[in-house]
Amino acid sequence: MKYYTYYPGCSAEATAIPLGISVLRVAKALDIDLVELEDWNCCGSTPYSSVTKLEAGAMAARNLALAEKTGLDLVTPCSNCYVILQSVNTHLKELPKFREQLNEALAAGDLKYGGGVKVRHLAEVFYNDITPEVIASKVTKPLKGLKVAAYYGCQLVRPNGFDDPESPHSLDELVTSLGAEAVSWEMKARCCGSSLVMPEQEVALGLVNKILRNAEAHGAQCLVTPCPLCQINLDAYQSQVNRQFKTSYNLPVLFVTQLIGVALGIPAKELALEKNIVSPMRVLAPYL
């Protein structure tokens, strides 16, 4: 059994609930003990740090201070939380004034942070701590014949991710460890537009279109991603892309943990597969 402090992030409890559900279920199957960080708050995300720095830092630092008490690595399945918590953690280490001021702010809430937390992404934990080999050994329903486009998005691998920032391979290895085929494609780590989909929908949909077109052109039957924002843009907005660009995509976009779960023989319901907007049931039928 491996132990971690778990930081779900806001999306994993709402618009990305299939992520939250499948993470906990798959963790259990892989002997990973994820203990939810007690009373965690929003990491602040990109919007907060784009409007104020110290206050945004304080938002993230409360989580780091709470996590430090547990003595375990802080693991999040959300790529944006990962970048934000990691960046504030680094600024706290490297900028003495920032650290001093944030600790002064934390003291107002009876907290302090000594800089001892390691922030990690769940996909990195799967890859480095659990390893594709061990996951492969637990597969009961090999996904033989399934062509999957592993979509990394941005913030899992940039700016300080654990894999190559331009041509990553870790998710591809996880996909092949399940018996599926990871298609080779160019857009695997290109931007989906992230939260621009709300204020600048047309721009973001243009980026989503390029990603879906590329995945389809390489014969992918579905995509997998670890990132809640990417999943929503590619899945929930796929019908909008079809409307705007007169395309007819019908590409399911699974969370990595959902696909791992299927291969481990976990029932569809427990992986919240019915909550995906573009239904993955047809593509996954042979393995369920």
């Binding site: 618009t15 299939p18 708050n41 104020t52 304080a58 970048v83 941005c154 621009l196 709300m198 907007i277």
Partner: protein
């Protein structure tokens, strides 16, 4: 460095200092204007002044022109520029620093809805300790263009029907402590 060789008026040198003083904003002085940031940017076509030019404008002291533009608000934080910059400048962080300055100076543009969206996000995160996506989206549309919500209605409905759009927010227990921490940080930020 090059810019110290040129006689610049005081107001012009202060813009670059201002940017450098924000975490993530430093290193801008070593830009060689190679343009790999602009070439790598997935949204550069939409920027009033694309990344390379925006950086040049910081160094030229074109404060108001840049801070009132839509430029940095199109940064999707993909960090492609950041991993490719040969001078380790972290252009994405600089864009975030410019956003901070733009808001702080009351210059943020109405041409992009991103500044309003960011504020709605923050209000939501601060109000409950966690972001409530539905509430945030409704507020964004009310504050900008309520009719544009109609276009997004199918997406929202789809999420709702799939159990991905809770109708009420989650509130953390430590709201009082969180508020005290944020208030203190805000006071410190204003005082410096």
């Amino acid at each position: 460095m090059a810019e110290t060789m040129v006689e610049a008026p005081a107001a012009k040198t202060s813009f670059i200092d201002e940017v450098c003083s924000i975490p993530g904003g430093d290193a801008i002085r070593s830009c060689i204007q190679c343009g790999i940031c602009t070439g790598s940017c997935p949204t550069a076509n939409n920027w009033d002044y694309p990344p390379r030019r925006a950086i040049a404008m910081v160094r030229a002291g074109l404060r108001e022109e840049l801070l009132s533009s839509n430029s940095m608000w199109f940064c999707a934080s993909c960090y492609t520029c950041t991993v490719r910059c040969p001078r380790d400048i972290k252009p994405a962080d600089i864009m975030h620093a410019l956003e901070v300055l733009s808001i702080r100076s009351g210059l943020s543009t109405r041409k992009s809805r991103t500044p309003v969206m960011y504020q709605c996000f923050i209000d939501s995160a601060k109000g409950n300790g966690r972001v409530y996506e539905l509430g945030m989206m409704i507020k964004l549309f009310l504050k900008t263009n309520p009719f544009s919500a109609l276009k997004l209605a199918p997406v929202g409905l789809g999420l709702f029907l799939h159990g991905r759009m809770p109708l009420k927010p989650t509130r953390i227990k430590g709201m009082k402590e969180l508020k005290a921490i944020l208030d203190k940080a805000r006071a410190l930020e204003g005082a410096k």
